[in-house]
Symmetry: C2
Subunit: 438 residues, 2 copies
């Protein structure tokens, strides 16, 4: 191979990052991959020569095209880099690329969450690489860690802050004591949140990434539907202040766990995304702003954490170009297609009701004698005990009570809450937030 | 290949960890490597059947030997795992293993710091793997990160807390306000420090690891002698308290940096190990106790950090077995020997005098009029300016002064200090500690 030719599907934020890295670090990339790497064609929606020249220099102008066939049908293109986003069209293009015997590198977790299994199988069958390091946590090499570097371990848990938008919002709410709506509006102005932020703030984006990570961690297929999801839109500055009183911060965590034989938990894996009270001394607690981090516990390695920027042009480009370099090496050694995800385990998903966690429960009650005792009884009857309780008087004969429970099953909590609903002295359940305290 | 046979040189702390992982996680290791992995022989100094049976079960008893030829001359052994430590004998054994066409995995940074270049070249020439992930930062996959996962980047800096002993000592001195000597004695009792702690507390151990990391980060050969080294034995609780006043902690950092074209710094790399004032909000600042972490800045990925246990039986074993699994895959695909370190750059080491850093300087002076002004003049004459100053009265007409300088060249500081030496009102230079504030 004289040159490794790339075809970029998309030249937006991430595609532009890839182009800049390939151009700026050409010398290192050639030395490390064993071959010069060159962008032969880049698919764009509209050709804007002026912008292309400005952003990438003259050389890129000659490569841009609006016709995907210029890439998918070009026999000289070795790797198709899918950075266009979206699901359906990207899926069709990747399928065609694989059928035309092109390796693929993608940053598209939405697509992998839906079509990953089929595409990985097709790539493996054809001896092609399908790189996806950039699909989770941007520049952080967590895919490589789970697939290769921690391969000696039985992975016990994966805890991730893997959505920059929600982490930015929660960090700003915490440091500036502002509301979710205020900070979201600001994040949208700054470009840290999308105009339609639903999939970020609702937890779906993190759930997609967790499905990918947990499938690799446990070597079993975890589907997006297996992941329990709650977003951060009901978190208030009051909850954050109570968390601080309890030496905790509130983070949107993506959590995957696997029971150990004989540990008393139901056999299987748990996969969930929800706001979480996290002790301030946990390594993830100080991961703020748009940074991401993934905390992995393995039976041999113990606690590890991988930290970095989870999105953005160059960090995501870094992961994509690392995949390109790996594929270049494998092309040279004729070993492409040897590193597809291995799903040799079939492990049940533990039903939510049987999962165990501590809870933070914030209630508003009528402040009368016996009310507190009665409240406590609802939980006692569901066998739930408390680690701590905060009660504060409020105006108009109302009291605000925060219960922190010892770990209990979600089913027990549901039972207690259902019973509580009928209690006339309860005026409002402000919030129920899970606690990570393993 | 029906089975991948390992020969262990050593069955102590790390060798025992490898044996336990290979035995406990046999199913996962086979699935992930593509072949059953088995310990065929393990070299020990004295055969203690009782201990072997107790630690590893009956199967291991049959494998232990005191004769290294049982491993090096056994044609069925595919990978020699060197976990005996020391330099000279380990070097001879690894040489023989490579000449006998065996792949090698080693955790031995002492050996690599001295003989690495020769051994890597020999392995590459023979198409053999020489895995060394475990040689730096135990279970943290920092070798893979620098060699593969961050390969799209021009690495700008590597900052590591990569010696558990010194980090334990500094963390305990900080949280318990105790002296170096007290905490060192305790660390020795607890097994966190060696009976002869010189190479840990003096910084040599970290320097060896930094030589390995910086060679990979910059793709140029950095020798141990290139690394400037200072240990932590002169750090006092007073220094730590002043650092806290300045919102800093004191850590033993291994620091490698590379100038960017046009950034005004002398062209080249800097490699140094020394105690460092680090702002409390730096991701490395909260890495405490025996944990290690390596913070890497790349031009594309930006800031990243890799965190975990840097030593110990199972964490180090995790890295070794990851290397074994990678080599197994490469044996199966006939691609061993394709991932040796690439030293395609020749980059000068910037002389210490031309390196730039901020300084913390703690002095004891006679508390008289004009003394402070005179002190400031010594620095002004070397063109050094201050970011902050703390002055506290002491008994007997003495004052203690702490200067925090803006970044200046080491040569300027040397000039100022030489001039200061002749100042009769200066009674003592307690300490001079560099500041990391990039």
């Amino acid at each position: 191979m004289k040159t490794l030719n790339l075809g970029l599907l998309g030249l937006g934020t991430v595609g532009g990052g890839v182009a800049n890295i390939v151009n700026n670090n050409a010398h290192d990339i050639e030395a490390r991959s064993g071959v010069p790497v060159c962008i032969k064609k880049a698919l764009v929606r509209d050709i804007d020569m002026e912008k292309a020249r400005h952003d990438f220099g003259l050389s890129m102008v000659e490569t841009i095209t609006t016709d995907v066939d210029d890439i998918l049908n070009d026999p000289e293109i070795d790797i198709v880099v899918e950075v266009m986003g979206g699901v359906d069209i990207a899926y069709q293009y990747i399928l065609r690329a694989l059928h035309n015997r092109k390796h693929v590198v993608t940053a598209n977790k939405d697509l992998l969450a839906v079509h990953g299994t089929e595409l990985f199988a097709l790539a493996a069958q054809k001896g092609l690489d399908l790189g996806f390091e950039a699909s989770v946590a941007g520049g952080i090499p967590i895919i490589a860690a789970l697939q290769q570097n921690l391969a000696a371990n039985r992975i016990e848990s994966v805890l991730g802050i893997i959505n920059g938008t929600t982490n930015y919002i929660l960090s700003a709410m915490t440091s500036q004591k502002r509301t979710f709506q205020e900070v979201l509006a600001e994040a949208q102005e700054l470009g840290y949140a999308e105009a339609n932020p639903a999939s970020d703030v609702g937890g779906l984006d993190a759930a997609r990434k967790l499905a990918i990570m947990s499938s690799l961690a446990f070597n079993c297929q975890v589907a997006l539907d297996d992941v329990y999801v709650e977003g951060i839109d009901n978190i208030t500055p009051e909850d954050i202040a109570y968390a601080a009183e309890l030496d905790c911060v509130i983070k949107l965590l993506a959590i995957a766990g696997r029971s150990r034989p004989g540990d008393g938990r139901p056999e299987g894996v748990t996969v969930k995304v929800h706001p979480t009270l996290l002790p301030v001394n946990h390594p993830l607690a100080s991961v703020d702003g748009v940074f991401n981090a993934v905390y992995v516990v393995g039976d041999a390695v113990g606690e590890t954490m991988f930290y970095g920027q989870g999105a953005g042009s160059l960090p995501t480009g870094s992961a994509i170009v690392a995949d390109i370099i790996q594929t270049a090496r494998r092309i040279i050694t004729s070993t492409t297609g040897t590193l597809s995800p291995q799903y040799y385990n079939t492990i049940p998903i533990v039903p939510l009701d049987q999962q165990t966690t501590g809870f933070y429960i914030r209630l508003k009650v009528i402040d009368e004698p016996r009310v507190f005792a009665n409240l406590a009884l609802f939980f006692a009857e569901a066998d739930i005990s408390f680690a701590s309780i905060i009660q504060k008087p409020r105006r108009n004969n109302r009291a605000e009570v925060v219960f922190i429970t010892h770990p209990c099953q979600e089913g027990q909590m549901r039972k207690a809450l259902t019973a509580l609903e009928s209690y006339p002295k309860l005026e409002k359940v402000y919030n129920i937030i899970r606690i990570e305290n393993e």
